[in-house]
């Protein structure tokens, strides 16, 4: 098997999560491929470095004694009660109330979790992009270069604003994915703050009504709206005012 086909499994191998047959085959490949062997060695060294660095904090003896005492005391209190009916009279209504509360929590939580999932994913993409050595695939401040670059790579097109006279500058763009849907990620800069603009087809995203408006997601400021069948997300660590201003420029261009 060629190196490219193994590359996606090197983390699994380093983490001991490969199936035995694959593990044996990869081990055989590593014996004959210096590049992959070095790659695995680097991953293992990083694992060891994090393992050593992560074991850092030790609890105080006082906390240990306190918790051990609480656990011992509570366990002792939980001796079976002779008054079985008394127990039921108290707990049956409590269980009914708990089930009702759980059902309510589940409904509200599911709606909220869907929205949070989308914003968490976008925050992930934003952070991972900025941490990357090559954050953008097309590097240009010229919208007439960036926009055509996406042709043939994503199933839609969009308009970008003219920026001269504003504080914003376009750094570049890359293709990205949300909910298995390809879209565009554009990186803008304002006073050293990077802002990601994500554009996806509206129909491909869940719960469109819940996504609109300004949100604070994982401490990032965001703004989102729908225009011409496209869902726009603007996300970054810039101020809410900057996020609003860039959103307005994009809306006006669309």
């Amino acid at each position: 098997m060629a190196c490219e086909q193994w590359r996606g499994k090197l983390d699994l191998y380093s983490d001991g999560e490969l199936a035995p047959a694959d593990e044996a085959a990869l081990r055989a490949h590593l014996n004959s491929c210096a590049a992959c062997a070095v790659d695995v060695l680097d991953r293992v060294q990083l694992k060891h470095a994090v393992h050593a660095a992560g074991k850092r904090y030790e609890p105080s003896a006082q906390l240990r004694a306190q918790i051990a005492k609480t656990v011992a005391k509570t366990t002792a209190k939980k001796a079976p009660s002779a008054n079985v009916w008394g127990w039921r009279i108290i707990f049956v209504p409590a269980v009914v109330m708990l089930i009702f509360a759980l059902a309510l929590n589940f409904y509200v939580g599911r709606e909220y979790a869907g929205r949070q999932r989308v914003y968490s994913e976008l925050a992930d993409l934003h952070v991972a992009t900025l941490a990357s050595a090559t954050p953008v695939d097309v590097i240009s401040s010229d919208k007439h270069t960036v926009k055509p670059w996406f042709q043939g790579k994503i199933p839609f097109t969009f308009n970008l604003p003219e920026l001269p006279g504003s504080e914003f500058s376009l750094i570049g763009g890359r293709v990205t994915y949300l909910e298995q849907t390809p879209g565009a990620q554009l990186i803008y800069q304002v006073r050293k703050h990077e802002i990601s603009v994500f554009i996806f087809p509206e129909r491909a995203l869940p719960m469109p009504s819940l996504l609109a408006g300004p949100v604070n997601a994982l401490s990032f400021n965001t703004e989102s709206w729908t225009q011409n069948g496209l869902r726009y997300f603007v996300l970054g660590d810039a101020s809410a005012g900057d996020i609003r201003a860039l959103s307005k420029l994009l809306r006006d261009a669309g």
Partner: protein, 188 residues
């Protein structure tokens, strides 16, 4: 609120055979270390561990056979942590790019010079700088030696997402280490 946070889960051991004390106290040091990394504060970490044990004690009666006790404890701790901070939610992504695992082999990657004790502080600093959802998954995998399945149960995410998020977390950590190394070289 406890009903939302404490999920009745199964334990692999028979509860009648193993007491809560026998199962939970050996996890004390690990749980504290994890709590301290999450909170970045000693007093908050101590409160969090106490809250975790209190909730686990209350929920222990609902255990049945079949589930990992350690993952259950970590999940209670993590949920308690999340509920203690308004606006901080690590509920997460579903789709992950398939190629996230593919990272170029390079002879001068940061990790190749991070083996020694002298550089341990640099890794700790980079870990503390990572976004919390990256930091926690790295700690569970590398420090707690959890399997993908255990991490999946602890964080409440599919195993596929565990893989891709781990890959992203490592990529972000490498980026920070590289930055710090370059900053160190320039500073000399």
């Amino acid at each position: 609120m406890d009903g939302w946070l404490v999920y009745p889960m199964r334990v692999s051991e028979d509860p009648s055979a193993s007491s809560f004390e026998d199962l939970a106290m050996p996890l004390f040091d690990q749980l504290y270390n994890f709590a301290r990394w999450l909170t970045q504060d000693t007093a908050e970490a101590e409160d969090l561990v106490q809250e975790t044990y209190a909730k686990a004690l209350r929920g222990f009666g609902s255990f049945r056979q079949g589930t990992n006790f350690r993952a259950w404890m970590y999940r209670i701790l993590r949920n308690s942590f999340l509920s203690s901070r308004a606006g901080l939610k690590i509920v997460v992504p579903l789709d992950e790019e398939e190629n996230e695992n593919i990272l170029p082999a390079a002879s001068t990657t940061p990790e190749s010079i991070l083996i020694g004790e002298a550089n341990r502080e640099m890794v700790r600093h980079a870990l503390a700088e990572l976004p919390i959802h990256f930091r926690e998954i790295l700690l569970l995998c590398e420090v707690e030696d959890m399997s993908y399945q255990e991490i999946s149960a602890t964080l409440g995410i599919p195993a596929g997402t565990v893989m891709s998020r781990l890959s992203r977390a490592r990529k972000a950590l490498r980026g920070l280490l590289q930055q710090n190394l370059e900053g160190g070289r320039h500073g000399v």
